[in-house]
Subunit: 124 residues, 2 copies
DNA sequence: TAGTTAAGACTACAATTGTAATCATTATTT
DNA sequence: AAATAATGATTACAATTGTAGTCTTAACTA
């Protein structure tokens, strides 16, 4: 898959919200959270087209963009990369950090338990 | 904390293995895994000194480097940053990826269960 | 129809990054 | 003492990134 910068990822998020999306729509979505300069967004869109992260269809004067990979696919790849680089590819050292840091709520813990139950049902 | 590139992080890893460490020692450690050019490593060391990621003490001609923050501190910060950026700061969507992807072993699952038990003992 | 907009293309430009080579200086070896 | 080697400092240089500005062209407006 393509290498995406953090800023490019933010723009991609706006596209994943719904596509094909025009530059205008994308800019509006982005501005819901924080101010983005139109030119900046256009540049980022351009770059992502060039690096095959998104595609576009031309409708009259304007383009409608779509992602070339799913959000899940990308976030999973990035997560694995981080685990690889800092935890020898293992999940529990990362989880351990959070568990021990007082950052988790009872709900978070319950979600984790559900996931584990799911795994145990599916596997051994 | 300081912004560290992925490559700089690899060099830092070698320092975390034991410090203060001379450039030579660091280069040797790095070469255990893959070939690194001496000049490249020296450049990275220099940059990290400048960005206050590591310090050094001069002993004769050479420097002995030490990290200015702990490995745990850094990996946790990076993990949180990734969760923040791609999972609204929540842990379970990330764990969910792994649980569902057939990437976990029974041992991994047991480790997670232990962590959860630990949390439950400490909290609620 | 002439002027103004709006789209995207192209250009800009400094900071960071990866990857070294060269320079200056101090040890060390003949 | 002179030559050589080893250290870190400085310089190099292209690619990527963040952040826009300018240019070209098509479309809308007065």
């Amino acid at each position: 898959m393509t290498e995406i910068s953090k800023t490019e990822f933010e723009v991609l998020e706006a596209i994943w919200q719904g596509h094909p999306a025009s530059a205008q729509q994308i800019i509006e979505r982005l501005n819901d959270t924080k101010p983005w300069h139109e030119k900046t967004v256009k540049t980022l869109l351009n770059r992502m087209v060039k690096k095959d992260a998104i595609s576009f269809e031309k409708v009259q004067r304007s383009y409608f963009y779509s992602p070339l990979f799913a959000r899940d696919e990308y976030t999973f790849k990035e997560s694995k990369s981080l685990l690889e680089r800092m935890f020898s590819g293992r999940l529990s050292p990362l989880v351990s950090h959070f568990v021990k840091s007082d950052e988790l709520t009872k709900d978070d813990i319950n979600e984790l338990k559900d996931l584990i139950n799911q795994w145990e049902k599916d596997n051994g």
